[in-house]
Symmetry: C2
Subunit: 361 residues, 2 copies
């Protein structure tokens, strides 16, 4: 029998390790969701998120995983046809979601482990077929980080095409200047680089996206941007929100500020550099150069080690990493270096792996 | 400036007061959502919920508020036309949600403060127009509790009509025998009579509802019952769930068992009887006899007291009740007597109200 109460430090690409003081905040007593207290909390939290994202756009909070906002983005912002950029499991899922919501959509898939080229996107959009694209900035399944800046330059040539970006595993770990990049919907969950327990999703939504939603029918209710907007005006959420996660996120944003945004991004970069160096010296890197994620590294298992077994042994040392995703299981394994983890903790992990694999020799 | 950290004991109809040991469980460290640990937690929790609901149906967990499952129910189970029974704000919202999802729907509205008559429903369904009805068992906005048993007898005459029931503020406080009643979707959130922090919703979904979903298009992804079913088979959730709420709910279900289901339902009945007696002696009752809720009482403010002011003064004593909902504001006020509250605590509240109103004389 597996005891779910057994503690392991998470080096997986989400949910990530949550610090004690943030976990404790989850235990704060409840408040009414239509109370002044809730509006006070909302009013503190949202501006902190806008600052993190360098945006004046609305920031909506959804009591759901990020997938909820992925559905919201296409349900609200696709009228004609959506171009889904696919380079891994989560971007593929976004295509599925688009189709499942009755939208006309085309997947432009590239080899997993490679990143999207701005030129290819430009060519595709030039056909005039599309009124929206979905891009997964940081493909958690492969460890690919797409070049947001380059793609954003292309997007500026197509102002009528909605720019929908999943930054699920990069937001709060990597600098994303939403307004400069012209992102219409920039979404994430709080259980990745935010280092908060899962159950709440965040999205910066542009005025353009709001205007678009007004022209789109069958937006449903729970993920309707216009309903979000209405309650945002009251500093409330559509329905009873995940209040505990709001508490934790509000505290965590103060901790992020205390660290300093630039310092936080730098720490992520340093952890990534270290992990990549270790991986390339001991195994290989799954992702092509220039597209390697600063929050998660997919290690190419070119030594053919048994990843599940390695993870069991790490478990005995109270640590956990991730096997490869789907078909990439055992062919790769993934190390998350995001949230509140430190370079020292990354070294602890790689030391432990070195030791375990050394024992096997 | 309102400080959201100021504690008040909640006598509102949700979120309800959460006991210290359940709150503390929210602070448990994270586990991977595709780990054996998560499946162990899921595997413990779901059977406990089936037992609570006297059902062999699937019990799905959604990281959303109950509104998410209200959307799911109509999005998955309405093909032809939905009859929305409306007797308050939340049943009215369910009609809105049905329409917002592009479904053909008709609202059968009765006067707020009264309950639905089985005969009227039978007459309506006899037209053969409908393939689903939505019923809010316990209208939180008005304190009306509909007669589930009587309505279920009618529903048995229409086996092709999906029986979709919102038990948001009654589940875990009132006995609901899902299988005997033949409910196809029985949904609730955990922040009401479960007395767990909000962010997770629960639904018992029948095989008939699953079969129906297979015939319905445009079910989306996040709330697609067939996707829920697929992951249920793996003892996992579709996306990263609200793990902290799962921890808390799992512990709380043990506490519920310790109390005993029948004892729990009896305690709710006693608190309701007490509150109604106090209300009718001091004010009046908004809901007609025979339809008064065992989890929330809407007090008719026939003395014309200033409810907002009363609540401010209760706040100074670290207690909170709810004003009337929407248009019923100041005309009624609502006292929640659900979850883990006790008869003694209800007396503390009514004593405090008596004192505050006495001072004003």
């Amino acid at each position: 029998m597996v005891d779910y109460r057994r503690y392991k430090k998470l080096f997986i690409p989400g949910p990530t390790e949550v610090r004690k003081e943030v976990l404790e905040e989850m235990g704060r007593p409840m408040i009414g969701h239509r109370s002044k207290e809730l509006s006070a909390l909302y009013g503190e939290l949202v501006p902190k998120l806008q600052e993190l994202l360098y945006t004046k756009n609305h920031v909506f909070l959804s009591t759901s995983s990020s997938t909820g906002f992925m559905e919201a983005a296409v349900r609200n912002c696709v009228k004609k046809k959506c171009l889904n950029l696919v380079c891994g499991a989560f971007s593929e899922k976004w295509h599925k979601i688009t189709v499942a919501n009755g939208k006309d959509a085309e997947a432009m898939e590239i080899e997993w482990g490679t990143g999207h080229r701005a030129g290819d996107i430009e060519e595709k959009l030039s056909t005039g077929e599309f009124d929206a694209i979905t891009l997964v900035h940081n493909e958690t399944s492969t460890g690919t980080m797409n070049k947001l800046q380059e793609i954003s330059e292309v997007m500026k040539k197509f102002p009528d095409v909605m720019f929908l970006v999943d930054t699920v595993s990069s937001m709060a770990g990597v600098k994303i200047e939403v307004d400069k990049l012209g992102i219409d919907v920039c979404l994430a969950g709080v259980q990745k680089a935010f280092a908060v327990p899962p159950g709440l999703a965040v999205a910066a939504v542009s005025e353009k996206a709001i205007e678009k939603a007004k022209q789109v029918e069958n937006r449903g209710y729970y993920f309707d941007f216009l309903t979000f907007l209405k309650y945002d005006g009251k500093k409330q959420t559509i329905t009873t929100p995940a209040i505990s996660q709001m508490y934790a996120l509000n505290l965590q944003m103060d901790r992020v500020k205390e660290e300093g945004l630039e310092n936080r991004f730098k720490r992520h970069k340093e952890m990534a550099d270290y992990t990549r160096k270790w991986a390339s010296e001991n195994f290989g890197l799954f992702v092509e150069e220039g597209y390697r994620s600063d929050t998660v590294t997919a290690v190419a298992n070119n030594k053919g080690i048994n990843v599940a077994e390695l993870n069991e042994k790490l478990g005995e040392r109270k640590m956990m990493l991730s096997n490869g995703y789907g078909d990439l299981k055992e062919k790769t394994f993934r190390i998350g270096h995001m949230g509140d983890l430190t370079l020292d903790e990354m070294k602890e992990l790689t030391d432990a792996i070195d030791e375990i694999l050394g024992e096997g020799k």
